[in-house]
């Protein structure tokens, strides 16, 4: 087992290297003038030359690549062309917000998706099944950016129940001392026992979180359902019945455990798409996360930032994928 995991990690690193390489070279062929972005749009030729040297653009591409890799090993992602700040430190600022959002969304997905899937599998082709199928498929069919607009309209303007965006209310930001331990605001509040702030943060996270969770919820529900149906058709289920085991036991204990592996992988693999959604939704809810950051980076082709975010996304994917593989590997059936 251990050997297997190590092997997987190794190949993951290989993959990561591939991602870095590709992004690096894409970034370099994109027509843009980084030195201008660095030195200012009306900069004098001298200033531009200085900038080129400072950014190491005077060196040949392979050289730049080697240097970049070298820096990467020290966790140095280079400096953002816009903000002139180290990308790594900026990521450190924006990632927690996004993570908080995505993690909560996935929690929702599991809490709602799995039961939904189970029940519709249990009641296959009955009304409840149709309803939940419709819901889960509908959930993955909705354009999230569109949903976001509606939720805002309803819950902020019409019901004035929830805030329209941001992570905290103005007053909270200004007057409260916002804890920063993990960067996951809700968690930090919990740790510091600052409940009024936690409540405030929670009210802010509800809308974006719900929007983003739609896709994974639908996905999990669908996957659980089909996985279960598949398993409920297996012989050992029939056999189990013949020994007089109860349906409940069959479903909850036997079938569910078998289905977890596949569901887990599917969810992990769908992560990439959820991240995409996050990028779209954060902008609408002006959520200070990686999404807002990347959109800023994109509009000015700030490629150190873009590569940084890409790497982050890739890492997320690879890690989740790794976990999924390990889950599968721990399934006694698997003998690779």
């Amino acid at each position: 087992m251990l050997k297997y995991i190590l092997k997987r990690i190794l190949s993951s690193i290989l993959v990561l290297l591939g991602v870095v390489t590709i992004t690096f070279f894409i970034a370099r062929v994109i027509p843009s003038n980084p030195e201008v972005k660095w030195a200012g749009q009306r900069a004098t030729p001298e200033q531009l030359e200085a900038a080129r040297i400072e950014l190491g653009l005077d060196k040949s591409l392979p050289e730049q690549y080697v240097i970049y890799l070298g820096d990467l090993l020290h966790g140095d992602l280079g400096k953002s062309l816009r903000t002139h700040q180290p990308v790594s430190s900026e990521l450190r600022r924006y990632i927690p917000a996004t993570l908080e959002l995505v993690l909560l969304a996935f929690l929702l997905a599991v809490l709602i998706g799995i039961p939904l899937g189970i029940y519709s599998a249990k009641k296959k082709d009955r009304l409840l099944d149709h309803v939940s199928r419709f819901f889960s498929i509908g959930a993955v069919s909705l354009p999230t950016f569109w949903v976001a607009l509606f939720l805002q309209l309803i819950f902020y303007k019409n019901l004035s129940l929830l805030p329209i965006g941001g992570r905290l209310s103005v007053e909270a930001t200004i007057f409260e001392t916002v804890p920063d331990i993990t960067g996951l605001l809700l968690l930090d509040c919990l740790l510091t026992g600052n409940f009024s702030l936690m409540a405030d943060a929670f009210r802010h996270i509800i809308l974006p979180c719900v929007t983003i969770s739609l896709y994974p919820i639908g996905l999990v529900a669908r996957m659980t359902r089909s996985a279960l149906l598949e398993i409920l058709g297996e012989d050992y289920i029939t056999a189990g019945h013949s020994y007089g085991l109860s349906d409940g036991k069959m479903l909850w204990k036997y079938a569910l455990k078998n289905s977890l592996g596949t569901t887990a992988t599917d969810v992990a693999l769908s992560m990439g798409y959820t991240l995409t959604d996050t990028f779209l939704v954060e902008a609408i809810f002006s959520w200070p996360g990686i999404g807002s950051y990347i959109s800023g980076a994109i509009t000015s082709l700030d490629y150190p930032a873009i590569i940084g975010v890409t790497l982050f996304g890739a890492c997320c994917y690879i890690i989740l994928n790794l976990l999924a593989d390990i889950i599968i590997a721990s399934d006694p059936r698997v003998r690779l």
């Binding site: 903000t83 809490l111 103005v170 007053e171 007057f175």
Partner: protein, 525 residues
């Protein structure tokens, strides 16, 4: 297990909905907050020497410059400098500095700190640093403190230094304590300014300004002790925030949101601010058909100016007269103005003898600006009547610009939608940057090479310092040539419409400092 988690969630939810607002209740009483929502990030960096973007809307309230442009008077007025003088050819400038200025760190302003601040900008050579070109050592210029409260600036060539020092870019004066700090230091929310407000928090998408108690102007209760500036990109969202009274100031609304808001006079009122920002359509004059003057005139007559200003911009713009916007010297209402006239367009098209069948032009414009898109689509329709097929290409600025700088003229766009504004109240940048022929393409994106214009411009720059009237005359002459030749089309000058809560007064935008509001002047009713 699951049940327990869900239960917990539900609990927190209800709990939060109940007491969620308590945070605001507790605080708002004693300290007044002015909430300004902006459509894009309020800053890129907070480094006073480097920032060359939205950041001035923050920095302008935190730092001060030697001089300041007063739009009413139409000239620069004292700020940190109490007075200044120059020799007749405008190469040596002497500024007298106020002696009662205190920085936020408590230190007092002296001439030396002014010198250090300017040199910092020049050394970093980023953002707006180019404005010091004339002062750079290699151009034979210098800045030195010639007394505790006297700064002498020597220029390599004549230069209107009083205007330069009023710039919102690269001309801020800062305390010595921050001179050697780097960008990161400033972006963490530190500042070394002397302005009415200090930066209390900088969170990337939002900034909190806090009143600086020892500001020499003093404070009254009506003024705001906190200003919260935050990015909310969605127009509809910003509108809702004003409607609910959560925010007090915002602008850059979509036409419909604006209509809706302007109707709600019980809650909010609109403040229109003329700007120096004008939108220009470059034409690639180096290749067919753009190289043909009559064809360019045809293009000029085919543009839907009125529709754009009235329908697309909903009156948040005025059609340009000449290239220098009204309110800035060098502007003249007598300059010829094109209007939509398809017959004239057809006429000129025939005159040009360009064969339009299968003729395809590309126009590039910046992604994300819907008003550009709408205007261009209207234009597209008109041109189709002339048998010209216009292809819209939305691009990120850098790509757009990179393509425009392509070495082979044929690989560049045919037209280029462009917005320009001066870094300080001097029309010079339109002429030197956009119209003066240049050996290396930067902003002359019509690729104009007109010796007559060049001569006039060079002369005007010289005269700016000594004989402004003469300079103005030259500029107007240039604009006459420009419009006659239709090297590029002057479409419209932007008008910023701020929607301001009725509980607030004193909001005004200074055209020389785009998007900046002097919060010190803002008070609550």
């Amino acid at each position: 297990m699951k049940k327990r988690i869900t239960a917990a969630l539900v609990l927190i939810l209800t709990f939060s909905l109940l007491i969620g607002s308590s945070v605001s209740a507790s605080a708002a009483a004693d300290k007044k907050i002015l909430y300004h929502v902006h459509n894009s990030m309020p800053y890129v960096t907070l480094d006073p020497s480097i920032e060359y973007s939205n950041g001035i809307m923050v920095l302008q309230n935190v730092y001060e410059t030697l001089t300041h442009y007063d739009p009413e008077k139409g000239e620069v007025v004292p700020m940190l400098a109490s007075s200044w003088s120059s020799n007749e050819d405008g190469t040596v400038w002497v500024f007298q500095i106020r002696d009662d200025v205190v920085f936020h760190d408590g230190s007092k302003l002296t001439a030396q700190q002014v010198v250090n601040s300017f040199e910092r900008s020049m050394d970093l050579g980023q953002g707006g640093a180019y404005i010091w070109d004339a002062v750079l050592a290699e151009n034979g210029g210098s800045v030195e403190a010639t007394g505790e409260y006297e700064v002498t600036i020597t220029c390599g060539y004549p230069c209107a230094m009083d205007l330069v020092t009023s710039s919102a870019y690269a001309a801020y004066v800062m305390s010595d304590s921050v001179i050697d700090k780097d960008v990161e230091f400033f972006n963490q929310g530190n500042d070394g300014g002397s302005g009415p407000y200090t930066i209390a928090q900088a969170n990337g998408d939002s900034v909190v300004l806090q009143a600086f108690p020892d500001y020499r102007g003093g404070w009254n209760d009506a003024q705001y002790s906190f200003v919260y500036i935050r990015e909310v990109s969605e127009s509809s969202a910003r509108r809702q925030m004003l409607e609910t009274g959560e925010a007090q100031i915002s602008c850059e609304f979509s036409s419909t949101d604006l209509e809706a808001l302007e109707a709600q006079t019980d809650k909010v009122h609109a403040i229109k601010a003329e700007t120096f920002n004008n939108v220009i359509m470059f034409i690639n004059t180096e290749i067919e058909p753009g190289s043909n003057a009559d064809f360019r005139r045809a293009l000029a007559y085919a543009f839907p100016y009125e529709a754009t200003v009235n329908e697309v911009m909903n009156g948040n713009a005025v059609q340009s007269v000449g290239t220098v916007p009204a309110g800035l010297w060098g502007h003249s209402d007598d300059i010829f103005q094109y209007h939509l006239d398809m017959d004239k367009a057809k006429e000129y098209l025939e005159k040009s003898g360009i064969d339009t069948n299968g003729l395809k032009l590309t126009v590039t414009y910046m992604t994300g600006d819907d008003t550009y898109a709408s205007a261009l689509q209207l234009y597209q329709v008109n041109l189709r009547q002339l048998g010209i097929d216009l292809e819209l290409k939305s691009m990120e600025w850098d790509q757009q610009w990179a393509q425009a700088q392509n070495t082979d003229p044929a690989d560049r766009q045919d037209m280029f939608l462009f917005i320009w504004w001066p870094d300080y109240a001097d029309p010079v940048s339109w002429f030197t940057s956009l119209l003066h022929s240049e050996d290396e393409i930067t902003y002359n994106l019509s690729y104009v090479h007109d010796d007559e214009m060049d001569a006039l411009i060079d002369e005007a720059v010289e005269l700016t310092v000594t004989d402004r009237a003469a300079a103005e005359a030259d500029y107007i002459a240039v604009q006459d040539i420009l419009t006659d030749q239709a090297y590029y089309l002057n479409l419209y000058d932007q008008v910023h419409t701020y929607i301001v809560s009725n509980s607030v007064e004193g909001v005004a935008e200074n055209p020389a400092y785009s998007y900046t509001i002097d919060y010190y002047q803002v008070t609550s009713k």
